[in-house]
Symmetry: C2
Subunit: 343 residues, 2 copies
DNA sequence: TTCTCTACTGTGAACGCTCACAGAAGCACC
DNA sequence: GGTGCTTCTGTGAGCGTTCACAGTAGAGAA
């Protein structure tokens, strides 16, 4: 099935057309376009009027050709395909970053590096200078792609602490350890003492820090650590379910569990229900992230909110600063305990 | 906290460097780069060797400046912010389209038009020629943005049938009506006769077609239409829950329900459970989409699979063809009944 | 007057590529 | 030897910007 073709684009107006219309030179129009310094109010106004009249929009290719900047940035997701979009956090991050960039009038290029092949192609694309900088998000941040890009001179900001010790990659992260502490303190305040934990992947700083926070508080409180109450997962729903099952098997007297992601907590709820435990009556469950999964589960999850909107904004801010020549920076943002039904 | 800055990009090699290295002219290098017609095997080889040696990557800006193409395409999502990423279908579509484009070495620009302001800005950006074409996805496809873009001469492909009657926008869609027919036939084959429906938004062709399929089969089968068994939703989980509640109130003898999206079906399951109905023993539930929601619910949803991978591939194919000068086209892809636990 | 300074404006060159064109080389045919 | 054809190659122009530089006008000071 086909339809007749309409339209066909007209040649768009150039800076030349605007200059002629405004009765000034190209240079003046260019100056107005780029901040308007050293332009008389009269010229300024004439140019703006001409721009409105002609419907002029700058040709970014011509500009980029000479400035060397592309005025676009990449959003790089390194994650095997399946997990990629299961986690609602990626989506929120992507959405927030797109918006944050849009407010600077910078387009976002989405780059998915699931396979080694894709990864090579994308790295090549990036290092060729087709983007001015890259926002990197990877699930298990053991990934070194951010370091590699930085090594190649590309401005980079990663979401979450980088794994490489001594890595000089900029990053923005929530305060994982502090969040974990808050949650475990909350569970203690409910009178719980046999508190289990399903950790995140322990080859990632986020996973390690959340576990550290858990241990810290229990030791401080004089409850002590019981290794039977510690199992690890990989942030996926399935691993949360399996983790809770193992915990129940190893420590049937568990009266609370801190699960290091909401998605895993969803899985844990399933396992607990199947085992006949009521939440929160028999077992309190605390999640982490405050993703959409937290409100969708029954009971709704008490969790630690990661401020994804702020994280995104900071990532963009830090990246743009770096593109502007500033040094890499690390930003850690506070989390917040959100009480719902599960604990 | 700051860290010392490393690196700083070197000026990348140009076509000139490659030409010198290979002992040929710019023109010859350019020809090799663009398909290699009218180039001797000797020169071909020399150029390729030089490209490898210098690490040359084409400067897309310089190319675009002269060709007028940007060699990038936009992925436009017109949807209010909240709903945007609740629906897993958007994610799958985005992922598949990104990959389909990546295989053509075309970057995807993500554009979110939640507010009227964003929409204006993005339209301006697109019509300025910063992308060669646009893939449009909108939840309730009453949206006319695709038509507007097409009117402005921009190649466009929409996901799902466009609303505007007489619209000449290219689109790729699953066969909604046929999918609905399959599902209702399946419910009939289970011996169900009091089959309710929670429709999609009836200001969108998808919603209308699925309802039409439902009615068609019931009439064909001689069961007839009972208006009390028809309520409408908006594809959201909440509306599915509310819809199922209304159906139960109006037709307590309902023994099956066709819910026009998996997300709504999830909501319906919640409502049915609360009402004390067992699924599938008391009430069979059929969804639509085969999104991740279908396998995550308990019981897992019997549903109609929309072939999102094929839809994405077709969208990209049709769009590229259109950019290449071909006429707009409409593609309708078959759906498939996926039996799980709920019906 | 003349000089200096500031505020502004115009101009040519350049960014790295593609495209159209001209031309060379080889071959076949008259 | 001329003509035509095909296959290949090099060259100059130009895409729409920005940037550096030169230059003008007006104000204020000497």
């Amino acid at each position: 099935m086909t339809m007749s073709n309409t339209g066909g684009r007209r040649r768009p107006p150039t800076i030349h057309d605007v200059a002629r219309e405004a009765g000034v030179s190209r240079g003046t129009v260019s100056r107005v376009l780029n901040g308007g310094h050293y332009v008389s109010p009269t010229a300024q106004e004439a140019v703006n009027a001409a721009i409105r009249k002609t419907g002029y929009v700058v040709n970014r290719h011509a500009r980029s050709l000479i400035t060397g900047r592309s005025d676009s940035i990449g959003f790089l997701l390194t994650e095997p395909q399946e997990k990629l979009f299961e986690d609602p956090n990626f989506n929120v991050l992507l959405r927030c970053c797109t918006q944050a960039l849009a407010s600077h009038d910078i387009p976002l290029l989405l780059m998915l590096a699931g396979t080694e092949d894709e990864r090579r192609r994308i790295t090549r694309y990036i290092t060729a200078g087709h983007v001015d900088g890259v926002l990197v998000v990877s699930g298990h941040s053991g990934d070194l792609v951010a370091d590699e890009l930085r090594e190649a001179g590309v401005p980079v900001v990663q979401c979450g602490k980088p794994m490489g010790r001594g890595s000089k990659v900029s990053y923005v992260a929530a305060d994982d350890r502090d969040g974990a502490r808050d949650m475990v303190r909350h569970l203690l305040s409910l009178g719980r003492r046999r508190i289990g934990v399903v950790t995140g992947p322990l080859d990632s700083p986020g996973g390690v820090d959340r576990l550290a926070g858990y241990k810290e508080v229990l030791i401080e409180a004089g409850v002590g650590i019981d290794e039977r109450l510690i199992v690890s997962g990989d942030y996926s729903r399935a691993s949360g379910e399996a983790g809770a099952e193992r915990l129940l098997a190893r420590a049937p007297d568990m009266d609370a569990v801190f699960v290091a992601s909401d998605l895993m907590a969803q899985g844990a709820l399933t396992a607990l229900r199947r085992a006949g435990r009521r939440v929160p009556e028999d077992v309190s469950v605390g999640g982490f992230d405050d993703s959409t999964a937290a409100t969708e589960s029954t009971p709704a999850l008490t969790t630690i909110r990661q401020p994804y909107d702020r994280i995104s904004n900071e990532m963009v801010r830090v990246l743009l600063a770096q593109i502007g020549g500033e040094d890499p920076a690390a930003v850690i943002l506070p989390t917040e305990l959100v009480k719902r039904e599960s604990a």
